[in-house]
């Protein structure tokens, strides 16, 4: 089962490598990891998606807390959090396909952020299933390049 874990750490050099090193050392696989500063610039928030059962999750949480720079670790279940991801996808395009791609973009509320003679770049945001759906439809045009931020998430206000 996949878990989304939010880790609040001191915003210091080397912290990312401590966290990622811990996962590999203890045999847990990171599916995605997104890092950035929080509302407090001295702190960073890491959003980590990891596969494992409840016991794994408990062990990961405890090991993360053991790192001196870790302030807070919490699991963000899908029903108690808002989750999102940003994807940039560059698809092959020509005069004929451009219209269809634009329609797909509209349906998925994606932004067209770049148009060139032979390609278009779309910016997709949203939950994983929506993003995956869009990518699936775009595949037939030929995906030239794709980049994903990985999942980010926040606890819902009502779950606090």
């Amino acid at each position: 089962m996949k878990h989304t874990i939010s880790v609040i750490v001191e915003n210091k050099p080397g912290v990312l490598s401590r966290v990622s090193g811990l996962f590999s050392r203890r045999g847990f696989n990171i599916e995605s990891l997104a890092v950035g500063t929080t509302e407090d610039p001295s702190l960073s928030r890491m959003t980590i998606v990891v596969a494992g059962d409840e016991a794994d999750l408990e062990q990961i949480t405890k090991q993360l807390y053991k790192l001196i720079d870790t302030l807070k670790v919490f699991d963000l279940p899908a029903d108690k959090s808002v989750q999102s991801e940003l994807v940039l996808v560059k698809v092959a395009a020509n005069e004929k396909s451009r219209v269809e791609i634009t329609q797909i973009a509209e349906i998925f509320r994606a932004k067209i952020v770049d148009v060139a003679e032979t390609s278009m770049t779309l910016e997709l945001t949203g939950e994983e299933s929506k993003v995956e759906g869009a990518i699936k439809l775009l595949t037939k045009f030929g995906v030239k390049e794709l980049v994903r931020t990985g999942r980010i998430a926040l606890q819902r206000g009502s779950a606090e």
């Binding site: 750490v9 001191e10 080397g14 490598s17 401590r18 090193g21 050392r25 016991a55 408990e58 062990q59 405890k62 090991q63 807390y65 053991k66 001196i68 720079d69 870790t70 302030l71």
Partner: protein
């Protein structure tokens, strides 16, 4: 006051109460050694290899309970410390490892003697710092000591570039530490303690399984009080040796792979296992699914991550072992002896005592027993190397006091014993320090004999010389069809001559009848180290032995 980084480091060590550091000079730490030339408040012991410095600091910490400090230059100096840092980490020993680093302007350029020390030590240290501004030095040193000695203790690495030693700062040592992200929990939860008390009162076949945490928390007297008040038999891990007197009627000695048969049977049969400051390591549990299969488990530990890591736990209690035991003792009523359980254990003890057969050749167990006979009245510290020598010492020496046993538990580091014995002797100059060694491991840090000789340390090195890398040979005999692949060490040099060349006393003993007098002679020397080469039975095995992957009650007993 205005100080250089080097002066500030020495000032900080002094303010932390550090009396001694173990180190070896080199290029980038020259400014620090220059500052030491003027400031001699902290005694520096020159070792002969950085690994020896780390193990000496470790042995010092284990013998005294204080933070051990070691020092090395950048690159190879620092990488030579790493085995010692990993060793301290595995056994939760408070230590500060100070390493020089290339100047900040040269960092990341593959400069001469540059190694990414904070990177290399990340998985083997409790925490690490790379000081990039001299102004940060006092705060970082304060934090490093706090982290090393609080919570679950462990080694902290402080990597200091050369220019930081030279740069000046307005020195002020902080009075307090403020690390918002590091607040170890020390008080046990009252509800959990109440549950534990209920479980102890209800148990019919209870047993305490105590580890090194009891010693680092200084909780031996609380452990004894609990055991006696509630009639709880006690078995200890290798790291827990000394936490409970082995001469006590409730003592079951050590459990696990080379545990006593009665401890292993008792753990397998018990209905309540009270784990205290121990971590359910694979050498203790054997086949984990068959470990204490009928027991409810209470697990008391300072480190929340240990709870449920290896076994399921029914009643976890996170907190400082001493504080939790005190809280528990305040509330728990006495418990009657459960006659059938105690009788059963007594019967196992009678039926399966630790034993060995005497022979024409010296039996290694006999050397340990004789050393115990002659040393038991004195304040003695037993240090070991790793392998058969370690297990025989653990089994056949009777320990009654905490910090009287110093051994590499988690990492199993050959070469640990001699430098650790040096460190222990520096920490407790009046104690009788004996290093039980094997003919394999003694050579791994033999250069530290120089450190012992130069400082007139009267340590006793008792080599149980069986001409083999004994423990590996034992596994080859029992598991690999006696294929003694690369474990014959009969072409070792003459250890007596080696001892003498270093300026130590060397003796060789080959007959059982000479063992006692040789030990007496060794004990009488008090101005230099003594190495006694005991020529012992070559193919003696350590029994009981739980073959890897088996349940701990499936032992080979002899």
């Amino acid at each position: 006051m205005q100080l250089t980084g080097a002066q500030a480091l020495l000032e900080s060590l002094h303010r932390e109460g550090v009396e001694i550091i173990f180190g070896y000079p080199g290029g980038v730490v020259l400014p620090l050694y220059d500052a030491m030339f003027a400031d001699k408040r902290v005694k520096h012991i020159l070792v002969r290899h950085e690994q020896g410095a780390a193990h000496a600091a470790d042995g010092y910490a284990r013998a005294t309970g204080k933070v051990g400090v070691c020092l090395a230059t950048s690159g190879p100096g620092a990488t030579n410390l790493t085995t010692g840092i990993a060793n301290a980490y595995m056994d939760s020993i408070p230590m500060i490892a100070i390493t020089g680093q290339v100047a900040t302007s040269l960092l990341g350029r593959d400069s001469f003697q540059e190694a990414d020390v904070t990177g290399i030590t990340m998985p083997i240290a409790k925490h690490s710092y790379l000081i990039k501004k001299v102004e940060d030095l006092p705060r970082i040193m304060k934090e490093a000591f706090h982290i090393a000695r609080s919570g679950r203790p462990g080694p902290v690495v402080v990597d200091i570039p050369k220019d930081i030693f030279v740069n000046k700062l307005e020195y002020k040592y902080p009075d307090q530490v403020d690390i918002p992200s590091y607040k170890p929990r020390t008080e046990g939860h009252p509800k959990q303690i109440a549950l534990a008390i209920k479980a102890i009162q209800a148990a019919k076949k209870p047993i305490i399984y105590a580890g090194g945490g009891v010693i680092s928390a200084d909780a031996s007297s609380e452990l004894k009080e609990l055991a006696e008040k509630c009639n709880l038999p006690v078995t200890t891990t290798l790291m827990g040796i000394g936490a409970f007197p082995e001469t006590h009627e409730l003592s079951l000695g050590m459990l696990g792979m080379h545990g006593t048969a009665y401890a292993n049977y008792a753990v397998t049969e018990c209905d309540l296992l009270i784990g205290i400051g121990a971590r359910f390591d694979d050498r203790v549990t054997g086949h984990i699914a068959k470990f204490a299969p009928n027991a409810k488990i209470i697990h008391l530990d300072i480190d929340p991550a240990e709870i449920g890591k290896n076994v399921r736990v029914d009643i976890p209690i996170v907190g400082d072992v001493k504080k939790v035991l005190q809280a528990l003792l305040a509330k728990i009523g006495p418990k009657e002896k459960h006659a059938p359980w105690v009788d059963q254990i007594t019967e196992w003890k009678k039926k399966y005592p630790l034993a060995y057969k005497q022979a024409e050749t010296i039996k290694p167990q006999y050397v340990i027993e004789q050393a115990h006979e002659l040393a038991k009245e004195r304040d003695t510290i037993i240090v070991t190397e790793v392998g058969q020598n370690q297990m025989w010492a653990a089994m056949f020496y009777q320990f009654t006091k905490p910090r009287s046993w110093i051994s590499s538990g988690g990492l199993g580091t050959m070469g640990f014993g001699l430098p650790a014995a040096n460190g222990a002797q520096f920490g407790r100059p009046d104690a009788l320090v004996i290093d039980f060694a094997g003919d394999g491991s003694i050579q791994m840090n033999i250069q530290e004999l120089t450190t012992a000789v130069n400082n007139r340390l009267p340590i006793k090195i008792f080599v149980l010389n069986n001409c083999f890398l004994g423990m590996v040979r034992q596994w080859q005999e029992l598991i690999y069809d006696r294929h003694y692949s690369h474990t014959n060490l009969c072409n070792n040099p003459d250890l007596v001559k080696i001892a003498e060349a270093y300026g130590a006393v060397g003796m060789r003993v080959s007959k059982p009848a000479e063992v006692r007098s040789a030990i007496e002679k060794a004990f009488a020397i008090n101005d230099r180290p003594v190495l006694v080469d005991f020529v012992v039975a070559k193919e003696e095995n350590v029994f009981p032995f739980v073959p890897p992957g088996q349940a701990i009650n499936e032992m080979i007993i002899d």
